[in-house]
């Protein structure tokens, strides 16, 4: 326990100091935080609950649109803003910007949670691959439909309010970094807290055998919906921050980007090892470094690389980094290993 506290303190201090140590990578670090949030929250469904969702992107995109709309709509007419495109006919004062951002992030987190609660009962009744395909459909449908709605920019996109002129580019980077970092800290603390309760055991029971869990008297539907709502809360929050960070929202390329972000979150969790607390975090970090390397050196071929990466990870590495570590050093994970048994297994191989 003592070791853990030191570890967390080191990570926290490193996280707080990171934008000052690596000032050139502020935006990358904020994106990393968002990616970790998405991977960790996906893991609640995919890893712990056994419901492989492609649809968490729905909450992410919803949060993105909501945050930006609230931020604009609180002070200016929304329709005129989107109609003017990138032209700055209206300018937020710093106070307006930060107030709008705060309210926007709140709305961006709360509304997807409510949406998840409302649709949860119908969607989470599906199982296995039907759930996967259904949520895939949900994500794509949301993208296509939001691309047809005039007031949020339709096909031409939605320019989020530009950062007010205080402190310039440096301050912008730091603001968004700390936003995403604190969101990540809240997400991690919450998820760690709920993983240490009975809730996680129930989710695992649902994953292992839902019928038996139900027969044991667990109201599985209730817990599935709560799990999804927790995911939706943080996905929406992450989306709101990401919208401000990117500065431009497009329905299918930024917000409801099932082809990119929607797959990334699945991939990151699997790469790190689904069903573990730290797996998605490690996976997201490794994935982000890898992705940025590819995006820089193989520009244009990144999706080819992504496709190959998905296939390779899924086929040859389905247990992920944590799973591999666990197989290699079972003692570290608190598993008691019988030496003779292990030797016999090695000989068998």
């Amino acid at each position: 326990m003592n070791k853990n506290i030191i570890l967390y303190a080191v990570i926290l201090i490193f996280g707080l100091a990171a934008p000052f140590i690596f000032p050139a990578f502020k935006v990358q670090l904020s994106i990393l935080c968002v990616l970790i949030i998405l991977a960790v929250t996906w893991n609640i469904q995919g890893g712990e609950m056994g419901y492989n969702s492609f649809g968490n992107i729905l909450f992410y995109g919803l949060g993105m649109y909501l945050c930006a709309s609230v931020q604009v709509g609180m002070f200016f007419p929304l329709a005129e803003w989107t109609e003017s495109g990138g032209e700055k006919t209206f300018v937020h004062t710093p106070t307006q910007f930060f107030q709008g951002m705060a309210v926007g992030l709140l709305v961006a987190a709360v509304v997807p949670t409510i949406v998840a609660g409302l649709i949860g009962y119908s969607i989470l009744g599906l199982r296995g691959h039907y759930f996967a395909i259904c949520t895939l459909g949900l994500g794509v449908a949301a993208g296509e439909i939001s691309g047809g709605i005039e007031i949020i920019g339709a096909g031409q996109g939605f320019t989020t309010p530009p950062f007010p002129n205080v402190g310039g580019l440096e301050a912008r980077g730091e603001f968004f970094y700390f936003c995403s970092f604190f969101a990540l800290v809240i997400a991690f603390v919450t998820i760690r807290a709920i993983y240490s309760t009975r809730f996680k055991l129930i989710l695992n029971a649902i994953r292992d055998n839902e019928d038996k869990a139900e027969a044991m008297g667990i109201e599985t539907m209730k817990y599935k919906i709560i799990g999804w709502m927790v995911s939706a809360f943080f996905c929406g929050l992450a989306g709101g921050i990401m919208g401000g960070l990117v500065g431009y929202i497009d329905s299918t390329d930024v917000a409801f980007d099932g082809r990119e972000m929607g797959v990334f979150m699945v991939l990151m969790a699997i790469l790190g090892g689904k069903g573990t607390l730290w797996g998605p975090i490690i996976g997201a970090t490794v994935f982000h470094i890898f992705k940025e390397g590819f995006w820089t050196f193989f520009l244009g071929w990144q999706y080819v690389a992504l496709g190959v990466l998905i296939v390779v990870i899924v086929i040859y590495f389905p247990e992920g980094i944590m799973g591999w570590l666990r197989e290699k050093y079972p003692e570290r994970f608190g598993e008691v290993v019988d030496e003779a048994d292990r030797k016999a297994q090695v000989e068998l191989k």
């Binding site: 599906l126 039907y130 259904c134 691309g147 496709g307 296939v311 899924v314």
Partner: protein, 297 residues
């Protein structure tokens, strides 16, 4: 939304005919999906991308001056080997694994194909002009391009050929046996590995036919694959595996639905409504089954 549909019956007839002709094509793709789902227990997200690839083969024949309708013959041959290649490289490693693994792996293939096609053929929307002209019905109130009629007829012919092949040939019998019980088939001397490869190849060939027809009738674009996958998935879950008349009917129904959505909601909501319909169908099935305390398996 207005009452156009009721005021102008011709539009209704037009939409229905368009939808039915389109639906036959969807049913062909869906049949391929049902085949591999039933035999190999794999949901292939890359199905739509195979269709688009098949379409590009016909399009290139058109560019080289050959009539694109010959693509219906050439494209399945090429696509058969593409399918075998994909099977040998990826699919054979996911066949007996969790379904989600196969979904994710084929998702990867789909992204890969999408991007490779984008590099190879460019991001333009293209179509192969067949020069078949159009048919006018009801005092030229209803306009039907002959290419659509051609594509529907070809799809039906291919579907019938395939059904007969599955019933009569040795390989077809092996495929059906493997679908029923892979282990028993193996014991009785069926080389299931070969059967799986052939199934995936046949599926890819069907996609090739459908793609060639789509390139003649509609347009093709590297990123248009996913809607075809979703449509075929939807048709299969409505009709059930191995129910060919059901596949044909629900394909036509989907086509008609799409045409009406196009007319009533506007073209920008067309794809969105297809995906939303999928969600609604699944949720409907889920509530219907949950009354008996069952769930979709």
């Amino acid at each position: 939304m207005d009452f156009m549909v009721f005021q102008y019956p011709m539009i209704t007839i037009q939409a229905c005919l368009d939808g039915i002709l389109l639906g036959v094509l969807f049913a062909l793709i869906a049949y391929g999906m049902a085949l591999q789902w039933g035999v190999m227990n794999i949901i292939n997200i890359a199905q739509g991308d195979l269709v688009i690839l098949g379409g590009y083969i016909a399009y290139f024949m058109y560019l080289f001056g050959i009539h694109p309708a010959w693509g219906v013959i050439v494209s399945p041959f090429i696509m058969y080997f593409v399918g075998i290649g994909i099977y040998k490289l990826v699919i054979n490693k996911v066949v007996d694994r969790d379904l989600f693994i196969s979904i994710l792996a084929t998702f990867g293939i789909s992204i890969l194909f999408m991007q490779l096609m984008n590099f190879a053929f460019g991001a333009d929307v293209v179509l192969a002009n067949s020069g078949y002209g159009t048919t006018f019905l009801f005092d030229s109130n209803v306009v039907l391009p002959n290419s659509k009629i051609f594509s529907a007829v070809v799809s039906i012919v291919f579907a019938i050929c395939l059904v007969i092949y599955m019933k009569k040939s040795k390989l077809g019998r092996a495929i059906r046996a493997t679908a029923q019980n892979a282990r028993a088939a193996k014991i009785l001397g069926v080389d299931t590995e070969k059967v799986y490869a052939a199934t995936f190849g046949i599926n890819a060939a069907l996609c090739g036919v459908a793609g060639a027809l789509i390139s003649i009738t509609f347009t093709i674009h590297p990123y248009m694959g996913l809607p075809y996958t979703i449509r075929s998935f939807m048709i299969v879950i409505v009709a059930g595996l191995g129910n060919l008349p059901g596949v044909a009917l629900s394909g036509m129904g989907l086509g008609v639905f799409e045409e009406f959505a196009d007319y009533l909601l506007g073209t920008e909501f067309r794809i969105g409504s297809v995906f939303l319909l999928l969600v609604l169908i699944l949720v409907y099935r889920r509530f219907k089954l949950s009354r008996k305390r069952e769930y979709l398996k």
